[in-house]
């Protein structure tokens, strides 16, 4: 699960990278042991895996000179660069004349920040999983979460729950925060489309938003309309719901749609 979160967060960042540098054709991230961590939407996993395989072989042959830190392959149409960033490698393909200064800056700043964020999320999830594993079933529900669980269990058995999705909390701000619906959260539009396509004839009218601490609330939802936050792994939650959840900006929550 955490691996999926990592890949989703990193892929979003790589797609943004591609938007900032339109001269970039492909960008993907390799782990130190040559596994594909994430790739942008223009890169197929097959392409990335082939490059990763070739790169692994080259690294093996170059080991007598030390670990490979950077590689640059120039062709007469495009170039490929693979640079080590922390314990990963960032590979990108761009065309001659691309703004290399910006590309380097993004590689050295944006990617480490994204990796840090993904690892933080990973740690939170691991912590949650360990916490759940340690607690005996009878003690699993504390008083506050008991109330919430009751609220959640009010859902009738006829209701079907779709898989959980994880998002990072972004409070509803601006004019929408003032005049918007206080019982409605705004979910990534691609996720809403996915829910609709999964159960075309039945619509998920509600979602259950749950924090890693176990507090949950059932509320209405709408797809995000703001392109500045849409598709970035965020969920817009009004202050009222945040108070109930005891959550703040940057916290990780799971969102589970419920169809009736």
């Amino acid at each position: 699960m955490s691996g999926e979160v990592n890949a989703a967060v990193l892929s979003n960042v790589l797609n943004e990278y591609g938007k900032v540098c339109p001269d970039t054709y492909h960008i993907f991230l390799l782990s130190a042991n040559d596994k594909i961590l994430a790739s942008d939407q223009n890169t197929t996993s097959e392409d990335a895996e082939r490059v990763a395989h070739e790169f692994a072989t080259l690294k093996r042959y170059a080991r007598f000179m030390g670990e490979v830190e950077m590689l640059r392959l120039d062709g007469d149409k495009r170039w490929l660069s693979i640079a080590r960033v922390e314990d990963c490698y960032v590979a990108n393909v761009a065309q001659p004349g691309a703004d290399e200064k910006t590309l380097n800056a993004l590689t050295r700043v944006l990617i480490p920040a994204a990796l840090k964020l993904a690892r933080l999320m990973d740690a939170q999830l691991t912590e949650k999983a360990e916490g759940q594993a340690q607690k005996p079933p009878s003690e699993e529900v504390d008083e506050s979460s008991q109330k919430q669980s009751k609220e959640v269990s009010d859902l009738s058995p006829a209701r079907v729950e779709l898989p959980e999705y994880q998002f990072m909390v972004e409070p509803v701000r601006g004019i929408r925060g003032l005049i918007g619906l206080s019982d409605t959260v705004y979910v990534d539009s691609a996720t809403v489309t996915r829910w609709n396509s999964l159960y075309a004839e039945k619509k998920a009218a509600w979602v259950i938003v749950k924090t890693l601490k176990g507090k949950a609330v059932r509320c209405r939802y709408k797809p995000m309309r703001n392109p500045a936050v849409d598709g970035k792994g965020l969920i817009n939650i009004p202050e009222k719901i945040l108070t109930v959840l005891d959550a703040k900006k940057g916290d990780l929550v799971t969102v589970k749609p419920v169809i009736e």
């Binding site: 054709y25 492909h26 392409d47 082939r50 490059v51 070739e54 790169f55 072989t57 080259l58 042959y61 170059a62 007598f64 000179m65 030390g66 670990e67 490979v68 830190e69 950077m70 590689l71 640059r72 392959l73 120039d74 062709g75 007469d76 149409k77 495009r78 170039w79 490929l80 393909v93």
Partner: protein
Amino acid sequence: MVKKKREQTGNSAIMLQDEPTVHAKPSEALQRALEDISSRPDVAGYILRTGATATVKLKTQANLTDYALLSSEMQDFAEKNAEKLALGKATSLLVETENAKALLLLNDAGSISIFMAKTTDHTEILPALTT
């Protein structure tokens, strides 16, 4: 049947030649440029491949096999990935490691791999070999 001939030139240059061979002989200007480059204290040496011939000149023979294998692998990497990623015709490949740099230049006649210290500015070397 391929017969191998080994010829020693100077202290460290080794020419490995497979016969029969049909290849373009490197120009005198290129050979002179390579001699100048390899005489730099921060350059470990070079491997020049033309057709089926490889000329290896390294200051130390300790890692001769490693350098030869790396040179071959770099050429392989450049050709395969240039095709896969639609880079066009591969012209150069630079590999920078913790301790050193390897630069591969490709052209129709063959390839040149130059091994140098990490601190060497490879862009200073390029003009002499590409003109």
